[in-house]
Symmetry: C2
Subunit: 400 residues, 2 copies
């Protein structure tokens, strides 16, 4: 039986590719410190659970296809605080930010139409684009420049007659890069000048460590008709398993067309929507303490990386990831070696090899993504293991 | 800004198209009896709510991409009772049957590849196929033949060099038609002979009223490698708002490729999966009483329809829908007229006009789908309103 070319063109999740090696390492009694996945360890605010326990309908019925009105309104109230004026009808609730991305792409990309994305990028973007017949066109950045992509000449180098949109994550995953106000303006001007859609994935909005106010591309009125915002409760409220995101746009055509796809899958889980609505009443001090925690962790990771000779890493401004170039020939080989052949007092460490965040062949081979989702002690230990591992690996591979 | 051709080719949900007319009728004080949507009024078993209330993790984390192992196992245990032997690794948990359909199609349909579907069919099939670049190829059936499609010559008439798959719903939505054992064998032989995939949407499996045992295409060992089953807890346990379905196949290539799309959206809602697992412990007497209730309702609807002169309707064997041909020029016009211009003591009725269940231009114009999801009293009243409405409409439109 023949599998479709579309499916064959997609790849297995690179983040989960190394899972069997970790399982094997753990079966041998090793303790693996996981810096490889974006699952935060922060508790979900209790409002989520209270809302679910207070549900007393007899039947768990379909919700409206655009989302429950209470959640659409809660999202708008939240955006008002960020300085953006959205109406509930501008918001479609989706099954995670993932579905918002898929639906956005199918609304703006026809067959073989291209979407520019700065690389390194979130690898699932590739699957979403391929699934609906679009093409992801990467623009490469480098560890040496701190993965900087807000550069008109760089972005223009990716334009073709088939370019329809620019997709970006800000704050960035995997790079942790945060756009400055000037850079956001530059991006807005770029999409205006070239008549492109802008799909802005802003799910890490709260995770910025420079003391700056929260930002959104939604604040630029002059690109409102070409902007599609991707948002989610997953990281904001440490509620990844709720699978509640949304697609937001002031372009009524986008909403009307996106709604067709929302209707085709009927609705988003009813109880999770109710619980997500409750999350939006979370007090500001929750975010302050979470931000402080991640800030401290980022500083730990960067400090530890700077102590390792040969590492290239600029201190990133946000999210809970960073990319670093390691003094190794091949980060994938190094990762597998760490799991198979290395331990320090029974411990080893796992990150996400960098190649999978690039579409351009050969890029990212010496890089890794580190997710700082462990508590302070574990994080220090994990970074020490990385340093020890690097030393041992390079000693072994250089034959000394 | 230009919306993609893919999105423009899709249509708004026909089921929701008449919603504004209903809102307006209700605003004028009319009571509308809804026979138009498939939202059952049966309570969700309490095990669902208990499982959610017993969740005491601090963080609502991502579930594994293929689904939680407990739910995969529960689905297999259920199939063992239906006489089909599946392994947990044959089961991918999806966000409703909807996502299972979308993922199945992207796995087997390349660009412009065709999938045969007997019409009338569930309209969202069209959106799923279009979204991933496939083409739905309908084979028309008629009310006069009870929407019978298990006919080799009929199915073969739809074959083209681009045909890759056959998609069917059994028991049928919208027709309520249930395949006999001989008809299922005929379908299995058809897909074998022409080397096609079979996507069998069996979400209404429990809703059969002829006293027959539960059936599944999974029982045919000789098509196991070409079969993809679509399943869901929505109708089975009256838990539509949980959005828990699954894609099942013994073809390891299908599972490996479908998993890529499951990984790209990370996971299905964690709490709903836990609650859905609990649903599978529901006792057999629950199904017996639900089946009895729908059986009674179906008999009521069919009896009432037979009393109306000029209606064409064969008694369907399952699901909680039936299609009927009414003695009207245009069921859509009739529906809008019922909402705008008709009432009996302040009451009117709503069904789903038939055209939207057909892809072939001009078919289904006089037909309607009736969902018998109301209690016995309301159902009797709704059917009386249909009879009264038909009489008044035909009197008015014939100018008498």
């Amino acid at each position: 039986m023949q599998i479709s070319q579309t499916a064959l063109t997609c790849t297995q999740s690179p983040m989960r590719k190394y899972h069997p090696y970790a399982v094997q390492a753990e079966a041998k009694g090793k303790k693996v410190y996981h810096l490889n996945i974006g699952q935060p360890d922060i508790p979900t605010p209790s409002a989520f659970f209270e809302a679910i326990r207070n549900f007393h309908e007899a039947t768990v019925a379909y919700a409206p296809s655009p989302g429950i009105p209470e959640l659409q309104k809660a999202v708008c109230d939240y955006y008002a605080k960020v300085g953006v004026n959205y109406q509930p009808s501008d918001v479609l609730v989706t099954t995670g930010g993932s579905e918002a991305l898929l639906i956005s792409m199918v609304c703006v990309l026809g067959r073989d139409d291209e979407i520019i994305v700065p690389e390194p990028f979130y690898p699932n973007y590739h699957t979403f684009a391929t699934q609906i017949g679009g093409v992801l066109h990467p623009v490469a950045t480098t560890p040496e420049s701190g993965y900087h992509y807000a550069d008109t000449a760089l972005l223009e180098s990716a334009l073709t007659p088939k370019t329809r949109a620019l997709l970006l994550t800000n704050p960035g995953n995997p790079s942790g890069t945060v756009l400055t106000a000037e850079e956001r303006r530059l991006i807005a001007d770029f999409v205006k000048k070239h008549d492109l859609w802008l799909i802005a994935d802003e799910v890490y909005r709260e995770f910025v460590y420079g003391g700056e106010p929260l930002s959104s591309f939604g604040t630029f009125d002059d690109i409102a008709d070409r902007l599609i915002l991707i948002d989610s409760v997953s990281k904001r409220f440490s509620a990844c398993g709720a699978r509640i995101g949304c697609l937001i746009s002031k372009n009524a055509d986008v909403i009307a067309n996106a709604l067709k796809f929302c209707q085709s899958r009927l609705s988003v889980a009813t109880l999770d929507q109710i619980a997500a609505t409750a999350l939006y009443s979370t007090e500001a001090d929750y975010f302050a303490s979470v931000r402080e925690e991640y800030h401290r962790r980022r500083d730990t990771v960067v400090r530890k990386l700077k102590e390792i000779p040969g590492v290239v890493c600029e201190c990133p401004g946000g999210a809970f990831y960073l990319m670093a170039k390691l003094p190794v020939d091949d980060a994938e080989k190094f990762q597998i070696w760490l799991l198979e052949h290395f331990d320090d007092h029974g411990d080893t460490v796992m990150f996400a090899p960098g190649q999978c965040f690039y579409a351009t062949e050969g890029l990212g081979k010496s890089e890794v993504r580190i997710a700082y989702v462990l508590n302070q002690n574990d994080l220090e230990r994990a970074m020490d293991l990385l340093a020890l591992g690097l030393e041992a690996y390079n000693r072994e591979t250089s034959g000394k």
